[in-house]
């Protein structure tokens, strides 16, 4: 990947709301060039979506998030792919990863409350073929998401002038 594209991705990952003109001045590109590069990255599927990091706890909607670990028997010819694809179709599954270690698939599942999450796991996930074991961990509090600290940090006092 070109250095400039990498630079664009880093800028956008940090703040995807910047305009092409703003990005252009920072990177010494023309706005048209910025737009066409971003378009190419979107088309290539490198940029998947523009989203927002929200502190839901502060927003006070009371949603419950949980990490669910699954032990899965892989399928001949397909390994974990088919079951992972099935699981990923559920709206409730926000993130799905294949892991090394003591379990196989890791799900991030959100629901309105504990009951909803537990019903989802017991009624939809656990009974699926090839799932041998589930372990559900409720997230109590999030301190950092995608590199963003979610708790209040005290600003250090700086001098107004120094040389």
């Amino acid at each position: 990947m070109q250095e400039k594209d990498l630079e664009l991705l880093q800028i956008l990952e940090n703040n995807s709301r910047l305009s092409a003109t703003e990005i252009a001045t920072m990177t010494n590109l023309t706005p048209a060039d910025v737009e066409s590069r971003i378009h190419a990255l979107e088309t290539a599927g490198v940029i998947c979506k523009y989203t927002t990091v929200i502190n839901w706890e502060k927003a006070g909607n009371g949603e419950v998030s949980s990490i669910i670990e699954l032990k899965v028997s892989p399928e001949r010819d397909f390994g974990y792919d088919r079951i992972a694809e099935r699981l990923s179709r559920f709206r409730q599954v926000k993130t799905l990863r294949l892991m090394t270690g003591t379990y196989d698939l890791q799900l991030l599942v959100t629901g309105k409350n504990m009951q909803e999450v537990s019903r989802f796991v017991s009624e939809h996930v656990a009974p699926m073929d090839r799932i041998r074991e589930t372990a559900t961990h409720i997230i109590m509090k999030s301190y950092k998401e995608n590199g963003n600290v979610l708790f209040e940090q005290q600003e250090a006092e700086r001098l107004p002038y120094s040389f």
């Binding site: 880093q10 700086r158 107004p160 002038y161 040389f163």
Partner: protein, 387 residues
């Protein structure tokens, strides 16, 4: 009672910025572009290792020169990054920031009456340090047409029979100017020909945006007559830790060490531990910070030129140095009125000596959001001036 203040202390002019300092503290909601330090926090791995060392009871003096393991890492680092060969046993001293390094370097080489050339605009302590050592500071002006690089002819003009040394600082505070290998070669011939010593403050070396930093001691045969100063403050956001280093050939280093051991004994041990961790594991943190400064620089310089304050693109450090000549105000008036009327703090260029007048220094080591807000306020200020 007698007046106890020494003539030497008495004769040092007070900081030209003191009144701004006091004024800024009385105004709410000031955006300060006046601070010459990173706005980032020290990377946490550095803090963590220092905290752990304190918990482990690592709180004593270190050898005068600094922790051996730090000097070894530094020696390797300098070789790898800048092709600077300095022996960790006897050619590196860990100092309490570059400020101390500067002071002891000058004291080790200056005799009463010696003239020391200072490439200006420059950091404010160079000239007073020379005066305090009994020497005579002689400014050599770097000009805007030369993009604030040190010009060989200007240097030649200031050399007399009493000239002993030249002090330079590139990437430069306050202009952001950088000297590449060719630029340095042009002055190296004069330095060698006139048998001068070179003191080079390279504390902004890591903040070089175009190409890579050229250490002055690697140019021609300068190494044997060069004292290289550097530190961790700017590159690793460690200003308050007070850790710098001085590198010089063995004989020079020994002389400097005698002064260091009497005035400082050693740099703070917790700072040295943090510095070691910085070299070992903060490369990526540093690169991320440098990348962010680069984006801010491009954005801020474009902004200044757009609103009518002509500014050259600085190749290093984190300062913009726009000309305010067209406003008709002096740099001091400009800075004072901008602070009072639009709550933006900048430093008048004349504070930095010859060639600084008619300019102001704006540090872009603040968030992009603040830079945008500051540009808006400066624009309003300029519009009001014109009307």
């Amino acid at each position: 009672m007698r007046n106890f203040i020494s003539e030497r202390a008495h004769n040092i002019p007070p900081s030209g910025i003191r009144k701004f300092f006091d004024l800024a503290l009385t105004i709410e909601d000031v955006i300060s572009l006046g601070v010459g330090e990173p706005d980032f926090r020290t990377p946490w791995n550095i803090c963590e290792s220092s905290i752990y060392s304190i918990e482990q009871g690592v709180t004593s003096y270190t050898p005068n020169k600094g922790l051996p393991v730090l000097r070894e890492s530094l020696s390797n680092y300098l070789q790898q990054h800048y092709h600077l060969p300095y022996n960790s046993d006897n050619e590196i001293i860990i100092t309490s920031g570059v400020s101390e390094g500067l002071d002891i370097a000058i004291r080790a080489i200056v005799d009463p009456g010696d003239e020391v050339l200072i490439a200006q605009p420059s950091y404010v302590s160079y000239a007073p340090c020379v005066t305090l050592a009994g020497g005579i500071p002689v400014p050599v002006q770097c000009t805007e047409p030369d993009r604030f690089k040190l010009n060989a002819d200007a240097l030649q003009d200031k050399i007399t029979g009493k000239t002993k040394a030249l002090m330079i600082n590139f990437p430069n505070n306050p202009t952001g100017a950088v000297m590449n290998r060719e630029d340095l070669r042009a002055i190296s011939d004069i330095i060698i020909d006139k048998d001068l010593l070179l003191i080079t403050d390279e504390v902004y070396a890591e903040l070089t945006y175009e190409g890579s930093h050229v250490a002055a001691a690697t140019v021609s045969d300068l190494w044997q007559r060069t004292i290289t100063l550097n530190g961790f403050s700017k590159a690793y956001a460690m200003t308050g830790w007070r850790v710098g280093y001085l590198c010089a050939p063995k004989e020079l280093c020994e002389a400097v060490l005698k002064i260091h051991q009497y005035v400082m004994l050693c740099a703070p041990v917790m700072g040295q531990v943090g510095a070691l961790e910085a070299i070992r594991s903060a490369e990526e943190d540093k690169n991320n910070m440098v990348q962010e400064y680069r984006l801010r620089r491009n954005m801020f310089i474009a902004g200044l030129n757009r609103i009518g304050l002509p500014a050259h693109v600085p190749d290093g450090a984190f300062y913009a140095f726009p000309s305010i000549k067209e406003t008709g105000l002096s740099d001091t008036e400009f800075a004072e009125r901008l602070l009072k009327e639009q709550r933006v703090a900048v430093v008048p260029g004349s504070v930095f000596g010859a060639g600084g007048e008619d300019h102001v220094r704006c540090a872009y080591a603040v968030s992009r959001k603040q830079l945008t807000e500051a540009l808006g306020r400066i624009e309003t200020f300029l519009t009001n001036l014109r009307n």
